[in-house]
């Protein structure tokens, strides 16, 4: 018996719906159809009136959730693809995110974003949006990389008093499996050492965690031990865990699937450079996708995003200094 990343997301939503009558799900095709990725399969039948199809209106979907959240509900909004959340961006950044600061009243809601690239998805169905959302105050941005985290972090997100942007990676949906759903969890705001090592730190999150671990295996064969840190949540950023790892290794490569200008990997490098300069034995490096829209053809796509091969090359460069 095993459970996939997608099944974990569905199970977390089912548990939240069962445990808390304030929780409801709203999104395009999430009702009887069960969602474009089947993340809400069978939930409409199990929880009548609480899993509702929305019109194709990302702005109104989020705006509705803001109103419902302010009135005491806990909406979970599914964007069909993270890319389309740009249409609802105003309601997220200017409405949901500002409410607590402006009014002192919480706006507890979760925006689920099916994120990241898969072969053939192209420019408008592949984006990683965490950079934009992390920049704005008032939001929590989660980027789970494991089945266990997809489950426990989504439950924690739904229970949180703030708007949470939940970036779930589409590449992990069907293929990433765990033995069972977790009974206990690391708090969502803590990063995690996914693989211990003494020679170099590789900070990653979401699908990049698995590329980073594969790169670490490759380097292990060459005699270098890479410590892989899984950020889990990119906003707020667990700087202490990152600095702790860099204190052990003295070297850093930060990896992200998003575009290279700014973002989580830039923030990691900036913080280590400014708060942990003395810990470093080599200049900290970053690795991100190329600065173009995300390509359609698998050949181009595979070269656009950081992969285990490119991460291993980056790690060697940091180690060589």
């Amino acid at each position: 018996m095993s459970v996939t990343y997608l099944e974990a997301i569905r199970a977390a939503q089912e548990k939240a719906l069962r445990d808390d009558p304030k929780v409801f799900i709203y999104g395009q095709d999430v009702g009887r159809f069960g969602g474009a990725f089947k993340a809400t399969k069978n939930l409409a039948e199990k929880f009548p009136g609480r899993v509702m199809d929305s019109p194709i209106s990302e702005d109104a979907m989020v705006g509705m959730a803001v109103g419902a959240a302010m009135d005491g509900m806990r909406p979970v909004v599914e964007m069909q693809f993270a890319d389309f959340s740009t249409v609802g961006l105003n309601q997220v950044l200017n409405h949901a995110a500002t409410t607590y600061w402006r009014t002192g009243k919480p706006c507890p809601m979760v925006l689920r974003l099916p994120s990241g690239g898969t072969p053939g998805s192209g420019p408008f169905h592949s984006q990683s949006m965490e950079t934009i959302y992390s920049h704005y105050p008032g939001l929590v941005v989660m980027t789970p990389a494991t089945v266990e985290d997809a489950y426990s972090m989504l439950l924690e997100a739904i229970g949180m008093e703030d708007p949470v942007i939940f970036c779930e990676h589409k590449l992990l949906y069907y293929h990433l499996k765990a033995e069972a759903l977790p009974n206990e969890a690391v708090p969502a705001f803590r990063a995690r050492v996914a693989r211990p090592g003494r020679d170099v730190t590789c900070v990653a999150y979401s699908a990049m965690l698995h590329e980073a671990v594969a790169a670490a295996e490759e380097l292990a064969a060459e005699g270098y031990e890479t410590e892989v840190v899984d950020l889990r949540t990119v906003k707020p950023l667990d700087t202490d865990t990152i600095l702790g790892s860099v204190a052990r290794t003295g070297r850093l490569l930060a990896v992200g699937e998003s575009w290279p200008w700014g973002g989580a990997s830039a923030e990691v490098v900036a913080r280590v450079a400014s708060e942990g300069f003395e810990l470093l034995d080599a200049p900290p490096k970053r690795l991100n996708a190329k600065d173009t829209p995300i390509p359609y053809h698998p050949n181009l796509w595979a070269a656009h995003r950081p992969t285990a091969v490119r991460i291993a090359a980056g790690l060697r460069e940091v180690l060589r200094y």
Partner: protein, 338 residues
């Protein structure tokens, strides 16, 4: 569509008419004071007035009851007061008092408190339609019945995608949402003919599959009757209602703006009438001139007292501010020096 009423006999709902008139008077009085405080340099940022729109706005406020939700826009002082927002909230927000609902973190017309049924508006036009719909969805999911939502926009907001998405969502869900459009001729300086190409925004109701009500927004009795009817229709389960009131903004977009671009012919037309003058004339014609004088004096006293009180209240202190944008501990990025 109802036109201006010829007669001045006692209207059918005298109590509401009095509430309407008094809210209009209080709104005009406090806004005149805010404008003078702005000119005196006591208010930073913008001051946005509802001059000429008090009747339509207050008609919404008096038609609502406890348990309803109101999402005013920038020219709805009268509606807010009619719905029960304490007048001092406006003064506190404009003067940045720490005792106000926004504590100096946000200002002027962005105030609101959903525990009182008022959503705090954001500046992005049309955004409050779906938020109001969300409150109504929440009530429906909890099995609460009989409450309506009312949101106000101007002609400019009807051009936004947010307006369309929100109204369509409310229509699909058949929510008891009343959207009152104050078509005041100009969105900032842009006239109607550069804003929309239909003859009348009321035509849009059909496209959304909802009921529409057009009216002369300068006529207080008509406003009360038509907005009241729309609210009742929504409350009775007839789904979203679109109310389009035609009137003219009798001030600039904000107090920084002299509004000289407003067409002189429009100013001189029925659309350019001052609804407060109409209200006063009707009240006097109904033999309640003395009451009007008393209401005016009461409003002036209330405003003077509020301004005096708020002027002595503490202002925000950056050293005592939490600087936390999130309710969850540890979710706001801490400053490095902390």
């Amino acid at each position: 569509m109802a036109g201006p009423k010829a007669g001045v006999s006692a209207p059918p709902r005298m109590d509401l008419t009095e509430s309407l008139g008094r809210a209009m008077l209080r709104a005009r009085t406090v806004e005149d004071k805010l404008a003078s405080l702005y000119r005196a340099g006591r208010i930073v940022g913008g001051v946005y007035l509802g001059k000429g729109q008090e009747a339509l706005s207050a008609a919404g406020g008096v038609s609502l009851k406890k348990g309803d939700v109101f999402a005013p826009l920038i020219r709805d002082m009268a509606g807010r007061l009619a719905f029960g927002e304490p007048l001092i909230d406006a003064v506190r927000t404009y003067l940045g008092s720490r005792l106000g609902p926004m504590k100096g973190r946000d200002g002027n017309i962005h105030r609101g408190d959903l525990t009182r049924g008022i959503l705090p508006m954001i500046s992005h036009l049309g955004a409050m339609l779906s938020a109001t719909a969300g409150v109504l969805m929440a009530k429906r999911m909890r099995g609460e019945k009989g409450n309506v939502g009312l949101t106000c926009v101007g002609d400019g907001a009807t051009s936004t995608g947010s307006f369309h998405e929100g109204l369509n969502l409310a229509a699909v869900e058949k929510l008891p949402l009343v959207t009152v459009v104050a078509d005041n001729g100009y969105a900032y300086s842009t006239p109607n003919q550069r804003q929309y190409a239909c003859t009348d925004l009321l035509e849009r109701a059909k496209g959304y599959g909802i009921e529409g009500h057009g009216l002369d927004g300068t006529d207080p009795d008509t406003c009360l009757e038509v907005v009241g009817r729309a609210v009742k229709r929504a409350r009775d389960g007839a789904g979203p209602q679109l109310v389009v009131g035609r009137l003219l903004r009798l001030c600039g977009h904000g107090e920084h703006d002299d509004g000289l671009y407003v067409d002189e012919a429009l100013r001189g037309s029925v659309r350019g009438r001052d609804c407060l003058v109409v209200m006063e004339e009707r009240t006097r014609a109904r033999g309640r001139g003395k009451d009007w004088e008393r209401w005016r004096e009461e409003a002036q006293r209330e405003v003077d007292e509020a301004v005096a009180k708020v002027s002595a209240e503490p202002v925000p202190d950056p050293f005592e501010e939490t600087w936390r944008a999130t309710a969850t501990t540890g979710a706001t990025e801490a400053l490095e020096e902390e």
